[in-house]
Amino acid sequence: MRRIKHFPEVMEIEAYIYTAGPVGTKWLEALRAGRLTAARCPKCGRLFMPPKMFCPYDFEEVKELREVEPVGVVETYTVVERDFYGEPLRERKVLAFIKFPGVEGGLIHYVKTDNPQMGMRVRPRWRAERRGLVTDIEYFEEV
């Protein structure tokens, strides 16, 4: 007979709403419109992405987003072959950190390519139906 040793439970975390905030909401609305934007700090003048309503560098309040040329550069990447539990993925996935010239930060996103390289120039492949999420960019592809 199986000993009673533990109590199985499912954590109730499946439904949760994360508030994007005033600047984050504008950023997501721009994504829905198929545009990439970055926040501009009025004090240091830096553009940064993903945006918040405060500058991470000097704590200044941020109100403005500026459109960014949607061509980024792969700063680093990995080809993911297995899931966390060691099982091979059905399809290898290229995950990259992508920087945009003149912008602090960047985006962590998938790149569709058979030959990933550091320094490779990429642009977003927008989904036809967009919902205001970072996944409105289906993936990045080589320019």
């Binding site: 439970e9 954590m11 993925l89 962590i108």
Partner: protein, 380 residues
Amino acid sequence: MRVGIVGVGWFGFQPEVVDYSFREMMFKAAQRAYEDAGGLDPRSEVDAFVSCQEDFWEGISIADEFAPDPVGGAMKSVYTVTGDGLQCVGQAYMMIRSGLFDVVVVESHGKPSDVETLNEVIFTATDPISLRPLGLENVHALAALEARAYMSKFGVAEDHLEAVVEKAHKAGVKNQRAVYASPGKSRSATPVVAEPLREADVAKFVDAAVVVVLASERVAKRYNDTPVWVDGVWWSTEFSSLEFHDWAFPLHAREAADGAYTQAKIADPYKEVDFAEVDNRYSFKELQHIEALRLAPRGTAKDLLADGAFCPGGRLPVNLSGGALAEGVPFEVHGLARLSYAVGVMRGEVKAEVDKAETAVVHSWRGIPTTTSVAAVLRI
């Protein structure tokens, strides 16, 4: 007023502690720590308790409420910190240095084997707006991004990672609690998880609890003839979104180390530190952290490692325990695992190949997706 470690106890360090809950693991580790501190009575001789834990690891919201009684702290002064156990040592250090507390107990526990969806729970720590919608099937991929950035910038090759893995398993086999140590393990024979990381580059998880008793210089000798002094402890976090952190170098570890060295009046760590226990939950992290802790100039840890400088018996042994690659990662206990091993070496209880064990630096990083490190300088 110096702050001394007068008692250490640990329990678990097994892939799955089946018969004990996390509370009982805390209790067992505490029993051992109090015995080590000369039979200290937690109900009458401890001024405060500090517990390091994280709600989602426990599957309990407001897990703080579960902290007091398993360590003998019910209805006493108990503080909880959502961070690595070494951050609790930082709290205890400040409390004792303030002069308001003489004896403070630090505790941390982790039971990863209870978490059935660990990838998802770890992924829940990432930015919900900019990253979570991507739904990563393997959070280690975030470490792989750092690995490639570091390796590319400083000319680190996969052979260098092989050397770290080999050293960890060889050293770990002499560490009684290093359950994953497997001498002769071949990195190249393990599958690629997320390039450039292979399975052998990634530490496994382990269930463990560690309790440490700290005391002011005024009362330390009541509990232990040979206290190990905490002469510096500092921690640092970069940004709340990974996108802003330095992908190629752990600035958080550099900041933490510099803070601790300043407190301990260490000017040249490479010359003044006898041995180090650092985070190596990914093989490349050991090289990064050696450099961040100023035990080698940036980009040179790989070469010094190849020369044997950081090996057991070398000029400055790093991870004589084998580190997390050999012991596993017990969530927030990791820093106390590094500290308790170093204390064992300094007291001479652990037979380790080190010429001198009078000054040690211990370090912990909270793992991806965090940019938090803690460093402490210990002297005996």
